[in-house]
Symmetry: C2
Subunit: 445 residues, 2 copies
């Protein structure tokens, strides 16, 4: 009898594995269970959808619809929730939400791609309907609809992380000036304070009311209570972060690790043989520190699904360590970081050398030139790059990739200065800003 | 007595060494000889100046004027030409062009930064005044002035390399539609033919008359004679390339290497101890092939000057190998390459695997998305990246730096696929185009 493979979750972590599984095990029966109605959508696009920047609307965020998946021959069951996994009997309990029927499916191998869920601290009133997490296309549709409602004027965003910043820009695009409440002393706490301050300046200069060092205390209709007093609110968006949705795995007795993310080995296998997991529900290994981390990124979900799919199909692939590379923008300011920041480096026991430089993005005489700040985090004794951060104008942030490759290759700042990086006046100054940062940091060793 | 160091040439290769020399040898007497009137200017900016894109005009291209250099205490003598070097007596013969005096200067160490000169094949009529090489700010000024002259309508560019393409775009900016004559079957012959064809398409779609496989046979006032017949011309620009200006070094008996560039070791010392050279007049070592090459780039001049300056000052620095990384644009199409192309790889004895992919530059739903083509040149047995080429829309070309670092680190395409490259909808699709190219090339091994 053909092997049966069950996939739980119809987003990237599950669906991106299918083609790999088919390549390795073309005879296998694959059943995919998705409790919602949508598959393979770009959650990262939601802020831009809400901001009205996605021409063609919400459908554009769907990379592959359920119908398209089915056309490939996949047995995809939407509105089917996996409610329990029996790792001994090797079965999944399924709840058909529309028919309200429950049944059991046997599996030979299982891939868990249950994803993440917005962190919702137990503030009083957090379940009020005007408080929205950012999760799934439904949220996107709801928030976009709210932009048509003129009575929605006072918007409060809780948390000035990536999602908070991107949602703030989205509301600005829609002619609203939201208030952003952040417990820490700066937005994007993964940035070293010097660069975090630059983001704060940008946000306020664009008309946002940024309130740092302000703790949310609770919600009541029309108001957010904070340590700095009440703030009127017609709509609240939570941008506190995304935790792993690992309850199903935990109930099945699978090992959980950091932040309750599912423990997997580098082949994406959980603590039970033949049961695999991928995406926002699993933990990763940090390439610089070797520590386990939970970082929810669409790129990891896709990579992990590819690795899991190859291994489920009988191949052998390994998930590399991660650097937590992230990139975003706050209005006209681009932001990127990779590796570890100064505080993380110190905590990990490194003798940390950090330095920032500010450089033009292009030849100083070329139209469209702007400034960019590059900060390098370096292991002083060896000169090895541990992390990098960029804040700047147009065309600055994606240069973080130079640092991504350098960190992965274990390069020193001396080796970075030697790189034959691309130069022409429309693209860079003669010394690329990353090389300038390396050179100036070298002087401080 | 303080050591005397003479620098020949007032552009980047010479001037960028000064601060390094001073750091290492603060007591040294430094004399810089420049036969022209300008110093430290951005030759790479000339096409953009001619195109009218440099706000503020020609002065913007001068990074540091002679006066500014002198204010730092440098004994800089403009309009002073070094006419001979005696390596035994350790003297330089100097011609003061304005005073028309000749004198001799002794040196302890010498840095030759004579730069490059536009290649001028011995075509009949090449010295006619309407035929211009692109060299120095004077050319820039002359060509910019010609743009004010309505009688200059028929412009012919000889050669569709970087300079030819950038000059063509400059004339387009000024409302002229030049004819570009190229001997080869495509522009930018360093690109593999598939990508070279894309550039040809772009150029013609913007109104340029591109004539490939067409050889220039000579010039007469008002006309360029070619293998494809005569072309009317009020102005001709040579974009055939830049050779080393090494005659002075050759006359002094210094060893010349590839393309008659001055032979230097990795400390930038010539074949005579204490005589150094840097910039467009020297040869480099290619990082992939280990072969000597002559590649004239402003970035190399600056790096070499830094290395030479440190060594002249008694330190120890080494010039790394080069990858020939280049980046430019043809109107709205960006172009970049690094490492070696398919033909060079085959000639160097590699078992070559090449593949191209075309990917969106951003999330497909994000405004401003365009296409970019990435071509990888790979050593088939090991999977090691040998070269990369990018042709695409906005924000595509500078991604070549990912490949620059990967080639330098000796990475395989498998390792490139594993890189934690930055993703967010405004900046990249989930799989970065370079990673997509690695993945698709892997499938063909």
């Amino acid at each position: 009898m053909a092997e049966r493979i069950i996939i739980i979750g119809g987003d990237a972590a599950g669906m991106a594995a299918v083609s790999q599984i088919r390549k390795g095990a073309p005879e296998a029966e694959i059943i995919a269970l998705e409790k919602g109605t949508q598959t393979s959508y770009a959650a990262c696009g939601i802020p831009f959808l809400v901001g009205g920047e996605v021409e063609g609307g919400i459908e554009q965020l769907v990379a592959r619809s359920p119908e398209q998946h089915r056309q490939t021959g996949l047995d995809l069951r939407t509105r089917h929730e996996a409610t329990a996994i029996d790792t001994t009997a090797r079965t999944v309990e399924v709840h058909d939400l529309d028919g309200d029927q429950r049944f059991t499916l046997e599996f030979d191998q299982l891939l868990i791609g249950t994803g993440g869920k917005p962190i919702r601290p137990p503030f009083p009133g957090i379940d009020l309907p005007f408080v929205h997490g950012v999760h799934g296309l439904d949220t996107g549709a709801r928030l976009l609809a709210a932009m048509e409602d003129e009575s929605v004027q006072n918007i409060v965003i809780v948390g000035a992380g990536y999602i908070g910043i991107e949602m703030a820009e989205a509301f600005l695009h829609q002619g609203r000036a939201p208030t952003v409440v952040e417990m820490a002393s700066q937005p994007l706490t993964l940035l070293d304070p010097e660069l975090g301050a630059l983001i704060g300046d940008t946000m306020t200069s664009h008309g946002l009311d940024l309130r740092t060092e302000t703790a949310v205390e609770g919600f009541e209709p029309g108001v957010v209570h904070t340590s700095g007093g009440p703030i009127p609110a017609d709509l609240v968006v939570l941008g506190i972060g995304l935790g792993p949705d690992s309850q199903l795995a935990a109930d099945a007795g699978l090992d959980l690790g950091v932040s309750n993310a599912i423990v997997v080995d580098d082949r994406m296998q959980t603590s039970v043989e033949g049961i695999w997991a991928a995406g926002d529900c699993v933990e990763s290994t940090h390439l610089v520190t070797g520590q386990k981390v939970h970082i929810a990124l669409g790129t990891y979900a896709n990579k992990q699904a590819r690795v899991a799919g190859i291994n489920i199909g009988g191949g052998d692939a390994r998930m590399p360590g991660v650097l937590g590379t992230a990139i975003t923008k706050a209005c006209d300011t681009e932001i990127a970081l990779t590796g570890i920041n100064s505080a993380q480096a110190a905590a990990a026991g490194f003798d940390v050398l950090t330095h920032s430089i500010t450089s033009p993005t292009r030849a100083h005489y070329y139209p469209g030139v702007s400034d960019m700040t590059v900060r390098l985090i370096v292991d002083r004794p060896t000169g090895r790059l541990l992390g990098a951060q960029i804040v700047g104008g147009g065309d600055s942030a994606k240069r973080i990739d130079t640092c991504v490759v350098a960190i992965t290759a274990g390069m020193t700042i001396e080796q970075i200065l030697d790189l034959d990086l691309a130069y022409a006046p429309p693209f860079s100054p003669v010394w690329d800003p990353v090389a300038v940062a390396a050179r100036e940091t070298m002087k401080r060793r």
